[in-house]
Symmetry: C2
Subunit: 357 residues, 2 copies
Amino acid sequence: MTTTSTTSQSIHGLLNAGRMLSDGIPPRDLQQATEQITDLEEWFDFWIAAGERYELLGGEALENGSRVSGGEWLWQASLCFHYAQFMWFHDPAKREQGQRRKVELYNRAAPHFKPPGERIEIPFEGITIPGFLRLPEGERPATGSPCVLLLGGLESTKEESYLFENICLRRGLATFAFDGPGQGEVFFEVKLRHDFERYSSAVLDVLEAREELDPNRFGVLGRSLGGYYALRAGAGDERLGAVVAWGFFHDMEDFDAMPKHTQHGFVYVAGGSKNDLVQALDLSDVAENLRAPTLLLNGRNDPIFPQRQMERTIAALVNAPKVVVIEPEGDHCCHNMGNIVRPRMADWLARQLNAGN
Amino acid sequence: MTTTSTTSQSIHGLLNAGRMLSDGIPPRDLQQATEQITDLEEWFDFWIAAGERYELLGGEALENGSRVSGGEWLWQASLCFHYAQFMWFHDPAKREQGQRRKVELYNRAAPHFKPPGERIEIPFEGITIPGFLRLPEGERPATGSPCVLLLGGLESTKEESYLFENICLRRGLATFAFDGPGQGEVFFEVKLRHDFERYSSAVLDVLEAREELDPNRFGVLGRSLGGYYALRAGAGDERLGAVVAWGFFHDMEDFDAMPKHTQHGFVYVAGGSKNDLVQALDLSDVAENLRAPTLLLNGRNDPIFPQRQMERTIAALVNAPKVVVIEPEGDHCCHNMGNIVRPRMADWLARQLNAGN
């Protein structure tokens, strides 16, 4: 394999500092990455090494009976492996290695979380939809807890939402983060599809039977490409009583103006064809079916989803009560102001689903 | 008032990035501070403005019934006010303004924490020792919860330990953070004294009567100057069954080699006399009385407490079972690796006090 790029600009294409910090990368590790990585090819190995250090710490903690630290450090390791393989499309073997190790470490971590993460595998049309259910601590409401489905985007998977889950859980919301078509574990079985909503409905079929959950209080939140999926999911299933599109677009008409690495990513998870991708992603066919209260959040400075994409979606959602927040200083998904927008989205969901916090 | 210094070096004397981030200053705010503040005199106003923004967010959240966000943003505001007045010795009026607002905001925030913080005011020799008790969520152990006293240092107060409290609480440890002589609210009544241990014992007298706490499972942790206090507290009271000195020194023999702003700070909280300070701070008279298991943690690169100070303390604690951790890459209190050492200290306390996590 040849080095595809050696410019620091390429590294900063991978490195959205706000996103990485908000998702849980420790500031010191991020600082060392920016100081030490001069060649893009070093990115993968840097984060693998960081992940292996946290894996050691996690193993030691569990041996000492320190389960909270054990769970958190194994999660921290998993997150490093996630960012190692992030956008690593030019070297599929390393990318798969990073994905597999991320999943394995998260599986080890989840039972030790407070509250724990229960891995649930949902069979659907010959494949398995894997996800993690977490229930708020404390006394369970008489009708069961409200629950939010959490959807990753182009390059985010169920393992990346741990901290956001904690934000929801502290507000009385159960969470179920899962991989759909083209995402994480499912990528190896099914690539990006036009009908994500059929997968989220399959998930609801299983979750609504759980006695810990209130079948009448489900919501969905998706980020970036997942924001688009969340709108489809809500349009396709009336059981979703609240929808958050945390970063959203309407279709692929502005594909060619996106950053190159984002274009690569979209085509990659779609299985290699830009034409298939452009046909697959278009909200027009379902937009008017969405009737649930919907929060649309984006940053004015989003370099990926342009303003006219946002406007098109807002105009198309003719039947949904909408709250639209376009943060003037926000970047993609407002990751640069994650400490403001993340709690606010969770608060909005908690209010819509009467979580009481 | 004249500007005392305009060099960026002075700002970095205030700005220990690792400490501020580990205590909860959002990375984005810290980055803006480093980018925008060019004159030290701007430091105070920058953080006041940041604090006021969070205060607004907190108030809005509470009005919307979002208590979790309300509590956290008011705490965030309080922390900004804390760092506004941090080391602001040359302008006592502003310093007091920052202290008072910090306290007020934290008082508003604490009832909304999960778990809540209960303000307790302990009368002692004509003054009031204020502190916050927080109890782990979930079922209470039959004998009551183990509890850790948390001691601030030269420039840290009870309001600064919120995130560290959360680390303890998730491990089953109750926490009680309070201001002692020369610290926070108490500074205005009593300056730094030689007998901190009498104040911590007065706190224990009150806490051991609380039915939610196990009177046989108290510990203490102090940071920086508070690490020294923790050793004194443990030496002076057998009820403390585990002691953590998170940053420690033995006496003031190396005072003249300390950074100037630290020297100023020490003399300031001592009431203005270096001679009084040097006489007040010496572990020699009580070191051999400490018999509880003790964790001593420091960084090899600590610019404040030199190696020979650490060695003197280690040698003097002849009767305590000791665990000594000197991190080769650690700075003062290992703040630059807070995400490693903070959970580890809490894990050690949880094991010593049989918290079971």
